[in-house]
């Protein structure tokens, strides 16, 4: 399995609203002396001041798949370009896909779940979102695209912090965390972030889901260990959250985390999760989880983008390791109570 993964070319998706600093970051990645060669798929030729025959211009073509699933969209141009790039395997180490400022990251990510040939040759490494510290708060109010990009991110580069006061910075960070408490956040000026913090993250690698654990815990709901049917909580509408559901004023984008120390019933959980993403998948942008099933000595991990799920047994639970199940959903207007109740029914009595 590790060999298989290493043969696949890692693909980093670079998103961010107009003017946030994507091109600055791209130019840094391309010009810094890191000994790696990147193929870059850009949406606007000429913005990058570097001559490189591995910079490919693309039109963002979002195609619906003919499988009856309305949110199952892929980037058709990406399928074509990745296939073409594979002819030059060995000439580059990784691929970066820059999206336009107005793009929804979901079709890009879904391309890696849906297309067999893309899956064979490439793997999605992480969604990196560059955000403008000065203007993001405004964009989150008036631009749903900006909100999607934050919600979808594995890594957020909060750029231009030199242009804001510390109070403004705290405010914008709270807004980001209200939407996405799990992403790695880096504060930068002129996108000066260590490239190791944005590239080769393995954020979509099922085997590395646990490496996000510090963020899992940091943002988590420590008082929310036990899920009973009678679990009540009030979610605040300030900048802080309770019970894992975080609201910031009228944000409609939320994250929801669930835990159980009792094992789950796989026969109930799997159909529940599949039904949930089938019916609510348009609202659920990202999901991931580590699961402990009854009568199963292996840890099961899964992740999803909208209605698409992938999961696998990862490894055996270690001796002394708490067999705890943890799930995270990030989405828009999540039906919280329905998800909590459904999950509670999957816990072994």
């Amino acid at each position: 399995m590790p060999e298989l993964t290493s043969q696949k070319i890692p693909v980093t998706v670079l998103t961010g609203y107009l003017g946030a600093g994507k091109t600055t970051l791209l130019n840094r990645i391309l010009s810094e002396n890191h000994g790696k060669k990147y193929a870059v798929i850009v949406n606007e030729f000429g913005e990058i001041g570097i001559d490189n025959d591995l910079i490919i211009g693309a039109d963002e073509e979002v195609f619906e798949m003919n499988n009856g699933c309305v949110c199952c969209t892929v980037r058709g141009d990406l399928v074509r370009i990745l296939e073409g790039l594979m002819k030059r395997k060995g000439k580059f180490d990784a691929i970066i896909v820059e999206t336009t400022g107005l793009a929804d990251p979901a079709p890009v990510a879904q391309t890696f779940f849906v297309d067999e040939d893309v899956q064979k040759n490439a793997r999605l490494d992480a969604v990196v979102t560059v955000a403008d510290a000065k203007w993001l708060s405004d964009r989150l109010k008036d631009a749903p695209e900006a909100k999607n990009q934050i919600a979808f991110a594995d890594v957020i580069v909060l750029n231009k912090i030199d242009l804001v006061s510390s109070a403004e910075l705290a405010e914008v960070e709270a807004r980001i965390r209200a939407i996405n408490p799990y992403a790695k956040l880096h504060r930068t000026e002129r996108c000066e972030v260590a490239l190791a913090d944005v590239l080769e993250r393995g954020a979509f690698d099922l085997d590395r889901i646990l490496e996000i654990e510090p963020e899992f815990l940091e943002a988590g709901d420590d008082h929310d260990h036990h899920h009973g049917h009678d679990h009540h909580h009030d979610h605040g509408h300030g900048g802080h959250g309770h019970g894992g559901l975080k609201h910031y004023h009228d944000e409609d984008m939320q994250s929801l985390s669930l835990r159980s120390d009792k094992p789950l019933d796989a026969a109930k959980f799997m159909p529940w999760l599949q039904d949930l993403v089938a019916s609510e998948g348009q609202k659920i942008l990202r999901s991931k989880g580590i699961l402990a099933f009854s009568d199963d000595d292996d840890r099961y991990v899964f992740q999803g983008v909208h209605m698409m799920l992938e999961g696998d047994h990862q490894r055996a639970w270690k001796d002394g390791e708490a067999r705890q199940s943890r799930l995270v959903f990030i989405g828009r207007e999540l039906p919280e109570q329905m998800i909590r109740d459904g999950f509670a029914r999957c816990v072994m009595p």
């Binding site: 025959d53 073509e61 892929v74 399928v79 074509r80 073409g84 790039l85 002819k87």
Partner: protein, 339 residues
């Protein structure tokens, strides 16, 4: 699906593997065509290897990068590359630059007409050059997925998202649009000009009967169809994409509508390439595990040409007389079989 026991079969199957002349092309191969008296092995990037009947290999540089598409009429081989160039290679090894995209966009598709016209595409634009007339171009709403000339007249099928545009480059008439939701990536006319078939991004084919534009859905593949080949006389269309060769019947006026396809040569590997013999009712099939079989269409009898255990077969072609079969795998291991 028929039951298949490979162990039993491999013991009893007729083999011509000892008659194959093995070739080491020395580069990944994306396609094979016959060009004059040579077999032309098109590399994934930069070169075409011209191989003479006695196995002599000559590398000819054609592109400064990846080779994205290729078409051949037997007299010349035309390739498009990620260097934005459209290049013609003659059997004597002469290379001619046919066109350069001014923005150095990728040349994604190419097609040749028997009268010498050439069509290619970059992004959303299809181009045609025929005879002495100047180059003409036609934009479609989304990136071109495939190009094919109709067997009669100068008519170009341009496959794209949500359908196919039929364009008459030398006529003022409006292009015809054949609509079908989804992304169409490959396109072919039947040799009798009655049907048009596309390979879609989904694992399915779509067809139109051109007389009345009736739809034909050909589904059930586990994987995307990347290789299609008309049997001698156009009676059936052989396709890759499953663990058997799927043959759609096109002999009747309704084509495959309401009919089941024939399933030939099942293996525990995915068919990656198909090439029908130009004159007889046999085909060659290459698989994802490197196996190559010759298959008789009427009874499915198989002859082993190449054993399994290597890279996927990416090139497979008969010469015009049908007396020689050339093949190559992705890793550049190749061969010639004289019949």
């Amino acid at each position: 699906m028929k039951e298949f026991d490979p162990a039993d079969k491999s013991a009893s199957i007729v083999s011509v593997t000892d008659r194959v002349r093995p070739l080491a092309i020395g580069m990944p191969v994306m396609a094979v065509h016959f060009l004059g008296g040579h077999a032309a092995f098109v590399g994934a990037e930069e070169n075409v290897a011209l191989v003479s009947g006695d196995g002599e290999i000559r590398q000819v540089p054609v592109h400064g990068g990846g080779i994205l598409c290729v078409a051949s009429d037997g007299a010349r081989l035309v390739t498009g590359g990620d260097d934005g160039r459209l290049v013609a290679l003659a059997a004597n090894g002469e290379v001619a630059l046919l066109a350069t995209d001014p923005k150095r966009r990728w040349i994604d598709n190419v097609a040749l007409h028997p009268d010498g016209a050439v069509a290619w595409s970059a992004g959303k634009t299809a181009f045609v050059r025929s005879g002495r007339t100047e180059e003409k171009s036609f934009p479609v709403p989304s990136t071109v997925g495939g190009l094919a000339f109709a067997p009669k007249g100068l008519r170009l099928a341009i496959a794209h998202y949500n359908g196919v545009t039929l364009w008459f480059p030398n006529m003022a008439a409006n292009p015809e649009f054949l609509e079908w939701a989804g992304s169409h990536l490959g396109v072919m006319f039947s040799p009798d000009n009655r049907f048009l078939v596309t390979a879609m991004h989904e694992p399915a084919l779509h067809g139109w009967r051109l007389a009345d534009n009736r739809h034909m859905r050909m589904t059930g593949y586990p994987g995307r169809v990347r290789s299609m080949s008309w049997s001698a006389g156009g009676k059936a269309l052989a396709t890759s994409g499953a663990d058997t060769v799927i043959m759609w019947p096109f002999a009747s006026k309704d084509g495959p509508m309401g009919k089941e396809p024939a399933m030939l040569a099942p293996l525990q590997a995915r068919v990656s390439m198909v090439a029908c013999h130009p004159k007889q009712d046999i085909l060659a099939a290459g698989y994802s595990d490197g196996t190559i079989l010759m298959v008789r269409l009427n009874d499915g009898a198989e002859i082993l040409v190449r054993r399994n255990g290597t890279a996927p077969v990416t090139g497979l072609a008969w010469n015009a007389k049908g007396a020689m079969l050339a093949f190559a795998a992705e890793d550049g291991e190749a061969g010639l079989l004289e019949l």
